[in-house]
């Protein structure tokens, strides 16, 4: 097995994820791009688990599991935020979220 193949795949996936996060305007698509990045990280962890002999066996796989759990939590909260945003503004474009106005009661 040549580990360079999954590694390069993971690197390219991560780059595509970054590109997607920066390029996309729709919040749901941004979340998808984030999923790509997380998967790239997972792929690196799994590949490293097979190629590097760690002190604790299968540390990489355990970490990958943890990351998957975190991703699930993240997607849950993230989608809740996106839906809330849509309810408030009828729009989910990230570059149209007004940040300059201050919420009430904070002055």
């Amino acid at each position: 097995m040549r580990p360079v193949i999954p590694y390069v795949t993971a690197a390219l996936l991560f780059g595509l994820g970054v590109y997607g996060v920066l390029r996309r305007r729709n919040a749901v698509l941004v979340l998808m791009a984030v999923e790509l990045m997380l998967n790239a990280v997972n792929l690196i962890l799994i590949t490293a688990d097979t190629t590097v002999q760690a002190v604790l066996p299968h540390g990489g796989q355990v970490f990958a599991l943890f990351v998957i759990v975190l991703a699930a939590a993240e997607i849950g909260v993230g989608l809740a935020i996106v839906l809330q945003l849509y309810r408030m503004r009828a729009d989910v474009a990230v570059d149209r979220i007004p940040l300059s106005e201050q919420p009430e009661g904070q002055r």
Partner: protein, 650 residues
């Protein structure tokens, strides 16, 4: 501690305790747990008891005082300086204490009737009697502290407490619009003098290494130090005793209740200055320059007060200006080197001026105004008040054999001696100045006393609505009691126990015999006594002739164009206002502007700049979401690149 010393210590303590207890009473009894009448009765009891106790102590002190004792105990050590707490008692102190307590007792009794809701008053007039009585007691205690104190610092404490009490009491009547301003003026003007007094005391104490009066008197100060210290002390004396140019507060202080005027004029405030000089007399004796200044000050004050008194229409202001003039006699006597004469006049003045003020209070109480132009013809309706006022005015003008005649004669004799024979410590011209001013003052005093009497008690009543009557007993008895010393105290000046007491003070040096004090009595009858008598007759006669010609007109009309000038006391108030008050307020405004614009401006400017900076940074920071993400990731990429390149190169 001997009995005498104990009495001396207790003398200020008794009224002090009474006043502190009185201050605990509810000031405005409405709505308090104690009823109004209960609080008032308690205040009356405390005030009268305090004054009566002090009076009894003072009399006992005078009786037991055979050998002038001095006792002190160390109070504070300030570096190399020692401040002691002690009493220094001599005959003069005991006599002045008796006078102070007598007047205080009379005032306490009189006030119970005077500050009472009369039938003509509004229903809800609140006289705030408990704090009033307590402040009078405190005033008395402070004056007694000055009288018996054996230490300059202790004396200063009493001196300052008096200033505070005069402020509180002058402003007592809240219904009068001018009362707060008058109180502020009295406080500020005496404060100007007190700064000098404090500096003088500090100079003496530092020079002698101790603040004990005995040490200060015994120490050999240099001439320059002595003169400077005496001049500084004179500033304080001028402030408290209302001497030119710091006299302006005294007439305005008439805004206070009449008993307070009696207290201030007769016994406490104004007497304190003169008394302080006699207390430190050996120092002044060695500083002729200071005495010359004092003499000039006294002559000006004497004439100024007498002339101003001639044109006043307010009966209390006439008496106030006459006080200024009479204090001028006392300081004049000091300037020509005769403290016994000054103290003698102080005592007789205390008696007849308290009498006059309380009698005037009775008149005001009956008529309801202080203006003489609305009085007149009160002789029939108020006989007791009339006779008492007659005695008081006679004593003021110096009609023999009333008290004022003898004491004023003593002052004039001392001045004459200093002028003709040069036997005073100050130069002879000071003696001439005081003597001539005193002689002119006699005529002027007679004139305005006669005018006051005629305008108030003779002629037709000018206010047909009023139905005056003699005051109730609680007001009448203090007046009657005070009439006795006002009439007879002068006779005590003949050689005898009284004059011995007055002249015997603690010698600074046991060997030095006080050479200026004549061993005999205070009264020297000589042919020159006819001179003031003649002037007295001339002054009184002029006023009487003028009134005889037209008994409805004011004799002051004879002054012609000078009348408004005299009435406003040579416009010194305006001068003071222009030279002192306005520049000071202007300076205050400038300081306030600087404070508001520059100091506050810096502070608020700092705050505003910080807030603007924060806002600017916040705006920069609040980038849109995509831009922020781009920045973060680009930064991460750059850091990664840098790390990789460094790793490669390493």
């Amino acid at each position: 501690m001997s009995t005498t010393t104990l009495l001396g210590v207790l003398l200020p303590v008794v009224p002090l305790v009474a006043s502190l207890a009185g201050l605990l009473l509810p000031p405005s009894p409405r709505g308090a747990t104690i009823g109004q009448e209960t609080a008032r009765r308690a205040a009356v009891a405390l005030g009268v008891a305090g004054a009566a106790g002090a009076f009894a102590l003072a009399v006992a002190l005078l009786a037991t005082l055979d050998d002038p004792p001095e006792s002190s105990t160390t109070w504070i050590e300030l570096g190399g300086l020692t401040v002691t707490a002690g009493v220094r008692l001599d005959g003069a102190a005991a006599l002045v204490a008796v006078a102070v307590t007598t007047v205080a007792l009379a005032v306490q009794v009189y006030s119970t009737g005077y500050l009472k809701r009369g039938p003509h008053d509004d229903v809800d007039v609140d006289h705030r009697y408990p704090p009033y009585a307590a402040q009078v007691s405190l005033f008395t205690a402070a004056m007694l502290l000055v009288v018996v104190s054996g230490d300059l610092i202790l004396l200063l404490v009493g001196w300052e407490v008096m200033g505070l009490c005069s402020y509180l009491l002058i402003a007592h009547d809240r219904r009068l619009p001018e009362a707060p301003a008058a109180a502020m003026k009295a406080f500020l003007v005496t404060r100007v003098g007190d700064v000098g007094f404090l500096l003088g005391i500090a100079l003496l104490g530092v020079s002698a290494g101790s603040f004990r009066i005995a040490d200060v008197l015994a120490h050999d100060h240099g001439t320059g130090t002595l003169t400077a210290a005496c001049l500084l002390l004179l500033a304080g004396v001028a402030g408290k005793s209302a001497q030119f140019p710091l006299h302006t507060w005294l007439p305005d202080a008439m805004a206070g209740p009449t008993p307070i005027s009696a207290l201030i004029h007769a016994a406490t405030m104004v007497a304190a200055g003169v008394y302080a000089v006699t207390r430190l007399w050996p120092l002044f004796e060695a500083a002729p320059t200071a005495l010359a200044v004092l003499g000039v000050m006294a002559s000006i004050t004497l004439l100024l007060g007498a002339l101003a008194a001639t044109a006043q229409d307010d009966i209390k202001r006439v008496l106030a200006w006459s006080t200024v003039s009479q204090i001028g006699y006392m300081t004049g006597a000091l300037a020509v080197g005769s403290p016994p004469a000054a103290l003698f006049h102080l005592l007789t003045h205390a008696a007849f001026k308290a009498l006059l003020f309380l009698a005037a209070g009775a008149v005001i109480h009956a008529v309801g105004t202080t203006l003489m132009s609305r009085m007149g013809g009160l002789r029939q309706s108020m006989p007791v008040t009339f006779w008492c006022t007659l005695i008081g005015l006679g004593a003021l003008a110096g009609v023999p054999p009333l008290s004022g005649f003898w004491s004023k004669e003593g002052v004039l004799a001392a001045a004459e001696g200093a002028a003709l024979h040069g036997d005073g410590p100050a130069p002879a011209w000071v003696g001439w100045l005081v003597w001539l001013a005193g002689l002119v003052g006699v005529a002027l005093t007679a004139w305005y006393a006669t005018r006051l009497l005629l305008r108030t008690f003779f002629g037709e009543s000018r206010d047909p609505l009023a139905h005056p009557h003699d005051p109730p007993a609680v007001l009448r008895w203090p007046v009657l009691v005070l009439a006795v010393p006002a009439a007879l105290l002068g006779l005590a000046g003949f050689p005898g126990w009284f004059s011995t007491q007055l002249q015997r003070s603690l010698p600074a040096d046991p060997d030095a015999v006080s050479n200026l004090m004549p061993p005999d009595g205070l009264i020297h009858l000589s042919p020159t006594v006819l001179l003031p008598l003649a002037l007295l007759v001339i002054g009184a006669g002029l006023a009487w002739v003028r009134w005889r010609r037209d008994d409805t007109a004011d004799p002051a009309a004879a002054l012609g164009p000078l009348r408004p000038v005299f009435a406003r006391a040579f416009r010194l108030d305006d001068v003071q206002h222009t030279l002192v008050v306005r520049p000071t307020t202007a300076l205050g405004r400038v300081a306030r502007t600087v404070d508001e614009r520059v100091v506050d401006g810096t502070v608020t400017g700092t705050g505003r700049a910080a807030r603007a900076l924060g806002g600017g940074l916040g705006t920069l920071h609040r980038a849109a979401l995509p831009r922020a993400v781009t920045a973060v990731l680009a930064g991460a990429l750059l850091i990664g690149l840098a790390a990789a390149l460094i790793g490669v190169s390493a």
